[in-house]
């Protein structure tokens, strides 16, 4: 009996091992099939909408079917992931080499993927034939997916940051919601009036934890027109009048004006909850935060507007840009890369169709149309995008006009961004929690620490 039990356990383990190995071998079989003869190509792509979002999932399935009809030799294998990227899982997948043929990344992941040697150079495949809008994609967006003159990804979305305002609170405070603040002095004036409404309402909110404080410090430095690091990327460059102004602005709002509430150490997700609950007047964010406020937190589009990121005397000189893209697995065959480029073009980069730009379908299915993103195009494609978006808008696009018309140029994140953000979190947390904090001393400390981090990274 005991021997039978032992044999059963051993057999179970063998079967488990066999199951594990068969799953990995099925991947290699798929890869072999896709590169095989007969002109048939199988290409896997991740970031398909999950079943918890049935409308988006159905639209994805329709788009894939449409693409396969246009390209009968291509079979698309969709992998649903939500969120599209979880940093911990992403880095583990990168280490294990288990990415899809076409895989989702943030712009800021580029160096990590290149260091891991997981990305294919797709430069020869990015042709007008495979990607008709190639020449209308903004140069700054192309820069985000290129390295050393080679293209490693196709952009999916792109955004710059601005000031999201709660229009309802602006009205209640006697402010004009069509005129969001342009400078930090305006922010202070408006925040005081909003906080005066009482009932736990804060005029302005900002991050100071989870590396998000450093992220916003960087955004506010960009708006001051100053760089975070020296041009060669070896030294911190924020220990100056502009850096001091960023910290002093926040310290004044928190302690002199008392318009930021007592609770701090916020990171992404915290301010959104306050905003959706009508407890926050404004905060700095990208336009897609509004989608999150509405779709995930039950707020209403008409309650929000957007202005430019504030600068010292008017709209900021620059705005931290970000976005995401699809990279291509180093193991992809030329046929898979070609099919992948055509697929991303079909899904994400063609006006009037696909996931981003089929505004008529989005409107018909009750989805939001009218947010000032993605900011991917210039020239004729940009003009066409504006025309189509306005025609099918489901929200008062005029509420975002101050953000759009300010047209603050995008600034890309510095190298070693997360390590720098982690250091600056400390400075942000101190000015927002300690009334006696010395911004200059905090900057000095952060600057020398970032110098050490950058020297270590060489």
């Amino acid at each position: 009996m005991r021997r039978s039990a032992a044999l059963l356990i051993a057999a179970t383990l063998s079967l488990t091992a066999a199951a594990c190995s068969s799953s990995s071998s099925s991947n290699s079989t798929a890869a072999a099939d896709s590169s095989g003869g007969g002109g048939k190509v199988t290409v896997s792509i991740d970031c398909a909408p999950p079943s918890s979002r049935p409308t988006q999932r159905q639209q994805w399935a329709d788009d894939i079917a449409g693409f396969e009809k246009l390209h009968p030799n291509v079979t698309v294998k969709s992998i649903d992931t939500f969120p599209c990227e979880t940093p911990e899982l992403f880095t583990a997948a990168l280490k294990g080499g288990t990415e899809a043929n076409v895989f989702y990344t943030y712009f800021t992941d580029k160096q990590q993927v290149l260091d891991a040697g997981r990305a294919a150079d797709i430069t020869p495949y990015v042709t007008a034939g495979n990607l008709p809008v190639k020449d209308d994609i903004l140069p700054s967006v192309w820069n985000s997916v290129r390295s050393g003159g080679k293209t490693y990804a196709l952009p999916r979305t792109n955004y710059t940051m601005g000031m999201i305002i709660n229009r309802r609170l602006f009205q209640q405070a006697g402010l004009n919601p069509d005129q969001p603040p342009q400078s930090w002095a305006d922010v202070e004036t408006d925040a005081k009036k909003i906080a005066a409404l009482g009932n736990g309402i804060a005029g302005y909110g900002d991050y100071s934890a989870g590396n998000n404080g450093g992220w916003h410090f960087t955004a506010e430095m960009d708006a001051q027109g100053a760089a975070m690091v020296s041009p060669d990327g070896t030294k911190a460059a924020f220990d100056n009048a502009q850096g001091l102004a960023v910290l002093q602005n926040l310290h004044r709002l928190r302690f002199d004006d008392g318009v930021m509430g007592t609770t701090q150490l916020y990171k992404w997700g915290d301010l959104q909850k306050q905003m959706a609950a009508g407890k926050l007047g404004m905060y700095i964010a990208a336009p897609d935060d509004i989608t999150y406020l509405v779709q995930s937190l039950g707020a209403h589009y008409e309650d929000f507007g957007m202005g430019p990121i504030p600068g010292p005397n008017g709209p900021g000189a620059g705005s931290l840009a970000g976005g995401d893209d699809y990279m291509f697995n180093r193991k992809d065959t030329p046929a898979q890369i070609t099919a992948g480029v055509q697929l991303v073009s079909y899904l994400w980069l063609t006006e009037g169709q696909g996931q981003s730009f089929d505004y008529a379908r989005s409107k018909a299915s009750g989805q939001a149309v009218g947010l000032p993103e993605p900011q991917l195009f210039q020239g004729a494609t940009a003009a066409e995008d504006t025309r189509l978006k306005t025609a099918d808008a489901t929200m008062p696009v005029q509420a975002f006009a101050p953000f759009v018309s300010a047209n603050v140029p995008g600034v890309t994140e510095p190298a070693n961004a997360q390590a720098i953000y982690k250091i600056l979190d400390t400075a942000m947390a101190s000015v927002l929690t300690d009334a006696k904090a010395d911004p200059q001393k905090l900057l000095d400390t952060a600057s020398s620490q970032v110098d050490e981090i950058l020297a270590n990274a060489q």
């Binding site: 044999l7 880095t91 040697g117 736990g200 929690t433």
Partner: protein
């Protein structure tokens, strides 16, 4: 080899087949999920990856983590957490166990009460404490204000943050330790207490001369386990301070730094090097424990 010699070997194999069958699962699990990652960690500590190529980096990763401005503060914070957690988390469960052992009524009810927090998912328990610590609507500051005592910034104060983390951690984890101590206490022969009572020993003297010596081995084992566990603190500051750093880096711990290196900076080499350092420190503690334990046994 002759057939006569083969026979005993095959007999021994047959005899142990069952044992090997049962062992293979555990051995495979440990090999795949413990030993292999540990070996890989050591190897990766001396490697770096650039442009898809992995190369030997010598002591580069180690130098990088030691030169990190957060390195020494992280060790200092970890040591502070360990010391505070031992002070509270080691002594308090023992005291509670002694009191519960003396009680004659509601024993089962009290055991459930003490163990209940252990059954809560850690993140839920920590979110509850985060709410209690909130300076605007948290219960703790509200009670302090009612008593006309000065309120504390708790997690937002660099001086109080680590203490606040320890309080939450102790509340979450003391149930298990209390039950283990209680089991050990109940294994002490009643005659020893009776003899001590006849000799005129009061409660404190009974605890000092009977309870502590009789539970010495359990106490030393728990001390060792708690040092190893508390030095790996991560979840508590990560949840309570919304990412782990706290104001002025007051809750940055060694494991949090490892997490940052691996998953925020994508620097596995540095993460492994720091992990290796932590492993060596914990191995040092374990060696001290084994030595003390052997001496006690003699």
């Amino acid at each position: 080899m002759t057939s006569a010699a083969i026979r005993p070997v095959s007999r021994a194999l047959r005899r142990n087949l069952t044992a090997h069958g049962f062992l293979i699962g555990a051995v495979l699990c440990f090999a795949c999920f413990s030993w292999y990652p540990m070996v890989r960690e050591v190897i990766m500590s001396f490697q770096r990856q650039k442009a898809g190529r992995t190369s030997w980096a010598g002591l580069h990763n180690l130098r990088q983590v030691v030169n990190d401005p957060s390195f020494w503060p992280a060790w200092r914070n970890t040591a502070e957490f360990t010391a505070l957690a031992l002070l509270l988390g080691f002594a308090l469960p023992f005291a509670v166990a002694v009191v519960m052992n003396e009680l004659r009524h509601a024993r089962g009810y009290l055991r459930v009460l003490v163990y209940l927090p252990v059954m809560l998912p850690p993140v839920s328990a920590l979110l509850l404490f985060k709410y209690l610590y909130n300076p605007e609507y948290g219960l703790f500051d509200h009670v302090l204000a009612l008593l006309h005592l000065p309120t504390s910034g708790w997690l937002q104060s660099p001086d109080m943050a680590m203490f606040a983390v320890v309080i939450a951690s102790t509340w979450m984890n003391m149930g298990s330790a209390t039950l283990i101590y209680l089991a050990a206490l109940q294994g002490i022969p009643g005659e020893l207490y009776e003899a001590a009572e006849l000799d005129g020993a009061g409660l404190l003297r009974r605890v000092w001369h009977v309870t502590i010596p009789q539970t010495g081995s359990i106490l030393s084992l728990m001390l060792m386990l708690q040092i190893v566990a508390t030095m790996q603190v991560f979840v508590e500051p990560f949840v309570l301070t919304n990412g782990g750093q706290g104001v002025d880096g007051s809750t940055t711990t060694v494991v949090y730094l490892i997490y940052q290196y691996a998953f925020n900076f994508s620097n596995y080499g540095a993460a492994c090097a720091l992990g290796l350092l932590l492993l060596l420190v914990l191995a040092g503690f374990s060696a001290v424990y084994v030595r003390i334990d052997r001496r006690l046994e003699r």
